[in-house]
Amino acid sequence: MPMPSLAHLPNRTRARVVRVSPERKRLLALGLRPGAVVEVLLRAPLGDPLEVRAGDAFLLLRLEEARHVQVEVL
């Protein structure tokens, strides 16, 4: 079964990042690194963009970008 992406993670559920698509290196720089603990805090109306907590930081992420981050629920 394919791993859920951050885009599908329900709000306020903690998960750990497993893999980030290689063409989205920028996301790594923001803190979405394999092993980091993430949580979706809220979504804008229409579900896009999202506010995500990654480690200590808060990030703004588009739904499209969130699809590139594979996570496993904790």
């Binding site: 923001l30 804008a44 963009p49 200590d56 930081a57 808060f58 990030l59 499209e64």
Partner: protein, 689 residues
């Protein structure tokens, strides 16, 4: 008393010892010395410097111990005189024991120095101070794990409160540590070959990195050779050293420090309010409205003051016995030129202040979140909204702000969109015409112009994106935690930024204003160039319903700065204002009154900031407005307004564009804008009966 986790044997206490305290600045080392030694403190200077030297004598288990506080440093590799002193002292007169003072709240950073100091092969113990601050930050330091990781005795302390119970006991357990860092291969090899010549691994490393003070000659020579060899092989020992150290510091930090409580839940809670699906957008619009209101309401009194100063200066100049043309040049050209530049400054300063406030408080990022959808429509990242918002205050800083965008194509597209945004300089033109021609609907007309500018700008960005094949934008950005803006810093920063603008754009604007004065006043071959040029261009504007050459002429100085358009119109329609000579005392009095008015105006503006916007009372049209209504029909006025909104970036903006996107694109922008302005003005003139 024993240190079960330590690796080597404790060093025995001698009858007389000197202990040195080493650590980052602001880790409470002096408090520690104070807490350990009580009253016996000695303050002096390090020889040959003005740096304070703190020491104290201590009687411990029958031995005489001198505690010496070395200046705070982040590394033994010096970047300042204090730091150089520490390395020198430790190498030239090594203490009997080294006490590493670590900051519990910044342990990882403290470890960088600690690991270096541990390589000096001195009996060492560590004190983790500022435990209370760490706890306040939600960090928990596992002292036992730290002992294990470092192989040294570690005591915890809160020196400022006198809680130094275990420190001396652990200090007595100090021992020479095993090398704490394994560096990358090439560096380890080089070190291995040098260690025989050096008093310690640390000394060898310092030599290898080129810091040769207080080291034996033989070592220095061998190190130079080894360094040259490494560099020739393409390895910078400095980078290798940093690699080893930071990696190890990170490792130890992860083993020894736990985050106890969740970070700033305040930020999270605020976000749920600020980014609320329903509240988000209104809050965002309100914040924007407030920011602009702040900027324009508070700057207007000062811009008026600048105008007053101009008048007084011109009056004083008019009183001087000078040839008439020179007098006019100075009074109307030079003074006006400087005045124009200075009139930018209150608006810019306040705009930067407002922006810095929004940025440092964290709100700006949240606004980007709300604006993301709109940005995405134009194919831009959410962050692009920041330069666009700035553009409504002044295009110049907005263009520079595009450099924050990661993708060069994004930078280009936003930079070219910005000049369409109605900046503060265009507002006087808008209000002048709107109140003269659409008195009932003036605010609506002005708002319409603003929205038109935004629409054209975004459409340009979108179009350019399609034409140049821009990929899907990246929206991801960090939302910094909310924090209280540091006021003093905001003021200092806004001042610096404004000063930088004046330095950069002041010159070109002044030159341009002088040129325009020359055009308008110096007869060339019988005619005035300004009138000649304006009359030549006027037929082009006929389809727009603009037939009066004076209106067309005013557009020329608009290339320099848009607010000059109003002045040019005034001069063309009403004749130049005769500047009467002004006495010194009279002028000073006027200035003093003007200053008072400006201050009052600022206070009033502040007080009214959160109140309802004052509905401007219908007032008598000014002479200029009366003259204009005679020269133009409403549809012509609309077309003129649209043209002024869109037609060209001002000189300062053009300079900024050249810096940011290059000459070719800047030139293209001007041509493109002229075309778009003309077409849309034409459409506007047809839209009214």
């Amino acid at each position: 008393m024993a240190c079960p986790r330590c690796h080597a044997q404790a060093t025995a206490l001698k009858a007389k010892e000197r202990w040195a305290l080493v650590g980052n600045p602001n880790t409470g080392k002096s408090s520690l010395v104070n807490a350990l030694a009580g009253a016996d403190l000695q303050v002096g200077n390090w020889p040959g410097t003005t740096l304070e030297r703190l020491s104290a004598a201590l009687d411990l288990a029958g031995a005489e111990v001198e505690l010496v506080d070395l200046p705070g440093t982040y590394s033994l590799l010096p970047t300042s005189p204090e730091e150089a002193l520490v390395a020198r002292e430790l190498l030239a007169s090594p203490p009997d024991r080294l006490l590493l003072v670590l900051d519990a709240g910044n342990l990882e950073r403290s470890l960088v120095l600690a690991l270096e100091a541990m390589e000096l092969a001195l009996p060492t113990a560590a004190v983790v101070n500022l435990l209370d601050e760490a706890e306040a930050k939600g960090l928990e330091v596992d002292l036992a794990a730290l002992e294990e990781a470092l192989g040294l005795p570690v005591a915890g302390a809160v020196a400022a409160r006198g809680r130094v119970a275990g420190v001396l006991a652990k200090a007595l357990e100090a021992r020479v540590p095993a090398p704490p860092v394994r560096y990358p291969g090439p560096l380890e090899e080089a070190l291995g070959r040098l260690e025989g010549l050096a008093p310690s691994r640390g000394a060898a490393l310092l030599a290898l990195l080129g810091e040769t003070a207080s080291l034996p000659q033989a070592l220095v020579r061998a190190a130079e050779e080894a360094r040259a060899r490494l560099l020739a092989e393409g390895h910078d020992p400095y980078l290798l050293a940093l690699e080893g150290r930071y990696a190890r510091a990170q490792e130890i930090y992860r083993e020894a420090v736990r985050r106890k409580s969740a970070p700033s839940s305040l930020t999270e809670r605020l976000d749920r309010l600020v980014l609320h699906p329903l509240l988000g957008l209104p809050l965002f619009l309100f914040a924007l409205f407030l920011a602009f209101r702040f900027t324009f309401a508070l700057s207007t009194p000062w811009v008026d003051l600048v105008g007053l100063v101009q008048e007084v200066l011109a009056g004083w100049l008019a009183a001087l016995p000078l040839p008439a043309l020179l007098r006019a040049f100075l009074a109307e050209g030079l003074v006006a030129g400087v005045g124009t530049v200075l009139s930018f400054t209150p608006v810019l300063f306040l705009l930067y202040l407002a922006l810095a406030f929004l940025e440092t408080s964290g709100f700006l990022a949240r606004m980007a979140f709300v604006a993301d959808r709109l940005m995405r429509w134009a194919g831009l990242p959410g962050k692009a909204f920041i330069p666009l918002v700035l553009g409504f205050g002044c295009n110049v800083p907005a263009v520079y702000a595009t450099q924050a965008l990661a993708h060069p194509l994004d930078r280009l597209r936003v930079a070219l969109a910005i000049p369409f945004l109605a900046c503060g300089a265009r507002l006087p033109v808008f209000t002048l015409f709107a109140f003269a021609f659409f008195p009932q609907n003036a605010p609506l007309a002005v708002l319409g112009l603003y929205l038109l500018g935004l629409g054209v700008g975004l459409a340009t960005a979108l179009l350019l994106g399609r034409v140049l094949g821009a990929g899907p934008g990246e929206g991801a950005m960090e939302l910094p935690p909310y924090r209280f803006p540091p006021w003093k810093l905001l003021l200092r920063l806004s001042l610096a930024r404004t000063a930088s603008f004046v330095r950069g754009a002041g010159g070109p604007i002044l030159v341009a204003v002088l040129l325009v004065w020359v055009l308008m006043n110096l007869p060339l071959g019988g005619t005035i160039p300004y009138a000649f040029l304006a009359q030549a261009l006027t037929p082009l504007f006929a389809p727009l319903g603009v037939g009066d050459w004076r209106l067309v002429g005013a557009l020329i100085p608009g290339f320099v700065a848009k607010e000059v358009v109003v002045g040019a119109l005034g001069v063309s329609f009403l004749g130049p204002e005769g500047v009467g000579p002004l006495g010194l005392a009279e002028g000073l009095r006027t200035l003093a009154q003007g200053l008072e008015t400006a201050l009052l105006g600022t206070l009033q503006g502040l007080a009214a900031l959160f109140g309802p916007p004052s509905l401007l009372p219908p007032h008598e049209p000014t002479p200029l407005q009366a003259a204009l209504t005679g020269a133009l029909a409403p549809k012509g006025a609309l077309a003129y307004l649209v043209f002024v909104l869109l037609y060209t970036p001002c000189a300062a903006t053009l300079a900024a564009l050249r810096t940011v996107v290059g000459r070719r694109w800047a030139g293209l922008a001007v041509a493109y804008q002229l075309l778009v302005a003309y077409l849309l003005a034409f459409a506007a003139s047809r839209s009214l009966p």
